[in-house]
Amino acid sequence: MKSIVLTAGQGTRLEPLTDCHPKAMITICGQPLLARLLTSFSRIGCHETAVVINPRHRSMVNRFDRLVSPALPSITWFEQTEGLGVGNGVLAARTYIDTGEYFMLSYGDIMFSDNLLQSLLNSFNSIRKPVAAVCLTRDSSDFGVIYMDQEMRITEIIEKPQQRKLGNYVLAGAFILPGGFISVLADCGGNIIDAFTKFLHSSELYASIWEGEWIDIAYPWSVLAANQMLMREWHQTIQSTSIVIESGVNISGPVVIEDHVTIKSGASIIGPCFIGQNSFIGHHALLRDCTCIGAGSTIGFGVEVKNSVIMAGSEIGRLSFIGDSVIGEHVEVGSATIMVNVRMDQATVSVDICGEPIDSGLKKLGSFIGDHAWIGANHTFLPGTKIPAHHVIPHFGTYPPRQ
């Protein structure tokens, strides 16, 4: 079965993490989101896939092709006109799908525990009718809510659910559809919810209930949730043979340490944690509770990192604290930087998303730093702070004072 993966979304709600690359390339535990998704495709025997991208993100094709591994399906790239919805993404790849065949459609920004696609395929195999994966979420206001009858046939899709209708299954962003669906979609001018609604009436669409974990990577803190979801499934420690660990290093819990990592004496690593290749962990550093250190990063002396994602090539200066935060690629964090992760009134942390404060629902949340930012020494970041990519913040409290 062929598949289409849609990754052309601009990811504005995910800024500053998407300032320099698309959200499909956000890298957690050594793998971009897209690679992880495509691996689950090949694991269920789906070896050919079309990936629809935004023309702005052409560079990701090169970057992705370098990753080529037997675990990935063979990819055909399509481009979608910028700014149009997911429906147009499907239309962009319409030549790829034969009308008479079923295909799998997936959004590129979903993450799930192993393996939603398998359960979708099982449902499809048992009934041989179009199916849509559905799941329950904490807050369904952002999703298309569905109603279904006792045969699990979807009877209604509500795009913008009102208060009373919130408590229901939502479309999980993975479908198996007949090729004919694309012409329905074209008739509806590329509006995918309209197309589904029309499709419900003309033929049948069944639900496949997914009761495992499922995350839609929509907000910066979803990256932390996705990271936690991955790590909580680990049960063992995996260490490369080429690592250098000095004496007096304390490692407990499941920890993945890749090639050529150096860990200096006195460091404590309390799993689950991930340390990417060529990273350097300084003396007396403390990494704990779902911390992911990207490849080639440097963690200085006495740094504490807790439930955070630090992407490739970043440097964290000595005596800093990074809590519940996401740090982009090649970020320099000066020494003694504190990313505070809790409000003094114990309330949940709100983050400014596209000019509007959105409640994350989390009592502990730190900061989000865009790629290539350079943060001087001695700063304190309040919970929910965002720093755009390439931003430079001078040292704080310097002597002699700046002119």
Binding site: I127, Y147, N168, S208
Partner: protein, 603 residues
């Protein structure tokens, strides 16, 4: 119900037989055993206990041989002992046999064989089969002929599989009214009581029909008629997918599927025969005393019905747990006993009905399974038509029973003049709207219930509290919670709080309130007072109710489409959903909770 498997191949089969037994464990789990033919000797190992434990203790995996049979037992004839476990051997040790079903005439056969010198080691009907087979083999010297002769003498139901050192390269099997299928592998063939037995090895299956004999070798399958011995040609069927999955219609668990079927079972329950309804109504009116009995979930159904009867007919129909019935009930010819039972096989309820019948009482029952024992025991039966319920926990059957009881109470109320025609029509109209309301509750609250369940998964102790009819709903919901999550949940009437139970409340103790509509002011305010008592002791409170939310609760679900009469049923649906999602979050075996069986047919 027992599980059967047989494998014949060219390599060691014990690991595969063990796996099959594990897959079959749901058909019976009180004992299990294997018989494998190795160098002309039949090696039998069997004991009581779960498969993994017996397999380890008796070292099933060390058994050599390429042909063998296995069995998981759910005791019917004979208690749970090692001797009664299958496979059974004859006295010479030349035949081993496993069997699923019940042989009706086994006592007569056993006496006959004992006279002929056979020594019996167990109390089972199955052992009779293997001795009878040895006996017939001595007459004919041909095994398939001996099996056919044996089957001719049997009355009852059976599916059986046989190995013998006289035919070391074959497995024989036969069926009559018990399930049996053959699986085709490469250089290996299988026999099983159902698809689960062979699911891991092949998807190519030949269904076997009643009155057929199968002779299996590693590269051939031959099917014959048991009566004439005539050969039958039958193609294999390729099963594409797990049949259980298709039965579940894509739902992850039967329990969720059955919860979703509730709107339809409510409708089906309301379409009951008007004549039956009237006859039952007359019976109730004529009786001086009415008992409503059930046990477990059905007792709580009876308890709910008791409130409905009081409210709509003014009569106190006594709800009693069937197991306590004979110790407290006063029975005479003026008594009517109405039993609730999903399976119609419930031991305690059958026992109570017989006790009442002996005292000259009238009996009636509301039952889901047609042709069950209870149907023949009582004077009058109302079938609830809920369709098969597979999940061990009863959801849709319980709701349907409550609906039937409610309908019955309405009818009696009208007949006795307790309800005016206007009130009756009004209530009936609301009852007809119930299925739509149940559908809305299911479709519109699952997400909220799931969120609550995720946040409360660490709470291991729960109080489920209600007042009036809602106390019965609380108790039934608590039972669901216990059964499926293995967490402690106690359903109590709110009035109990001050009289002891409140001592339990401490930081983080969980409680769920089943709140009546605010129009029932007295009950509502008393319930809220209970919630405040818990709140002031830092307990965690969830509220299921109607109308405007209250900030007292840590979590709450309020329904806005209800009517006071059927409102308790809507809250019961919330209770079911909460138990379901709690179990899913805790990764419990939802459809087959530990230690539980669908129908309890033993004391």
């Amino acid at each position: 119900m027992c599980g059967i498997v047989g494998i014949i191949g060219s390599s060691r089969i014990s690991p595969r037989l063990i796996q099959s037994l594990l897959n079959l464990e749901y058909r019976g789990y009180d004992s299990c055993g294997l018989a494998i033919l190795n160098n002309g000797v039949i090696d039998v190992r069997k004991d009581t206990g779960p498969v993994h434990q017996v397999a380890e203790q008796l070292r099933f995996s060390e058994m050599d041989g390429c042909a063998g049979i296995g069995h998981t037992r759910w005791a019917t004839t004979g208690t749970v002992t090692r001797a009664n476990a299958h496979p059974h051997l004859d006295n010479s040790g030349e035949f081993a046999l496993v069997h699923n079903g019940i042989i009706a005439n086994y006592r007569a056969l056993r006496q006959k064989l004992q006279h002929a010198g056979h020594r019996f080691l167990s109390e089972t009907d199955t052992e009779v089969l293997v001795h009878l087979l040895a006996h017939k083999y001595a007459e004919t010297g041909i095994l398939d002929e001996a099996i056919r002769r044996m089957c001719r003498e049997l009355e009852g139901t059976f599916a059986l599989a046989v190995i013998s050192n006289h035919e070391p390269d074959r497995i024989f099997a036969a069926r009559h009214e018990s399930p049996l299928i053959v699986g085709i592998g490469t250089g290996e063939n299988y026999i099983g009581s159902d698809f689960n037995a062979i699911l891991d090895y092949t998807r190519n299956v030949i269904p076997i029909h009643d009155g057929e004999l199968v002779i299996l070798s590693r590269d051939s399958v031959s099917i014959r008629r048991l009566d004439t011995g005539e050969k039958i040609q039958r193609e294999f069927v390729k099963l594409n997918w797990d049949p259980e999955l298709s039965q579940k219609g894509g739902y992850p668990h039967y329990m969720l599927k059955e919860i979703h079927e509730q709107p339809n079972t409510v409708e089906a329950a309301l379409t009951m025969d008007p004549e039956k309804l009237e006859a039952m109504c007359i019976k109730i009116q004529n009786a001086r005393r009415v008992y409503l009995i059930g046990v477990g979930t059905t007792f709580y159904v009876a308890l709910t019905a008791q409130y409905y009867f009081r409210r709509l007919t003014g009569r106190h129909c006594i709800a009693l747990s069937s197991d306590e019935f004979e110790h407290v009930a006063e029975v005479d010819e003026h008594t009517l006993v109405i039993a609730f039972s999903q399976s119609g096989e419930t031991y305690d309820t059958l026992h109570a009905l017989r006790y009442a019948k002996n005292a000259g009482s009238h009996t009636a029952a509301i039952i889901n399974v047609l042709g069950s024992s209870m149907v023949h025991e009582v004077e009058m039966v109302i079938m609830q038509q809920s369709g098969p319920e597979i999940c061990v926990l009863s959801t849709k059957a319980a709701i349907a029973q409550i609906v039937i009881a409610l309908r019955l109470a309405l009818e009696v109320g009208k007949a006795t003049g307790e309800l005016s025609t206007h009130a009756f029509n009004d209530h009936l109209e609301q009852l007809n709207k119930l299925s739509t309301r149940v559908r809305r509750v299911i479709n519109e609250t699952k997400g909220f219930v799931n969120t609550i369940a995720r946040e409360t998964k660490k709470i291991r102790n729960w109080l489920f509290i209600g007042r009036g009819i809602y106390s019965a709903v609380a108790m039934e919901s608590a039972l669901k919670m216990k059964e499926v999550t293995y967490h402690h949940a106690e359903g109590i009437p709110g009035g109990f709080m001050k009289h002891g139970t409140i001592a339990l409340i401490e930081d983080g103790f969980g409680s769920i309130f089943f709140l009546p509509p605010q129009s029932e002011a007295n009950l509502y305010h008393h319930s809220i007072a209970n919630a405040e008592e818990i709140k002031s002791r830092h307990g965690f409170i969830v509220g299921f109710g109607f109308g405007e939310p209250s900030d007292l609760f840590d979590h709450q679900i309020r329904l806005d489409d209800y009517d006071p009469l059927t409102a308790p049923i809507l809250l019961l649906v919330l209770g079911q959903l909460f138990s379901y999602y709690s179990a899913v979050v805790l990764k419990r075996n939802v459809d087959r909770p530990r230690s539980l069986a669908k129908s309890v047919t033993v004391a």
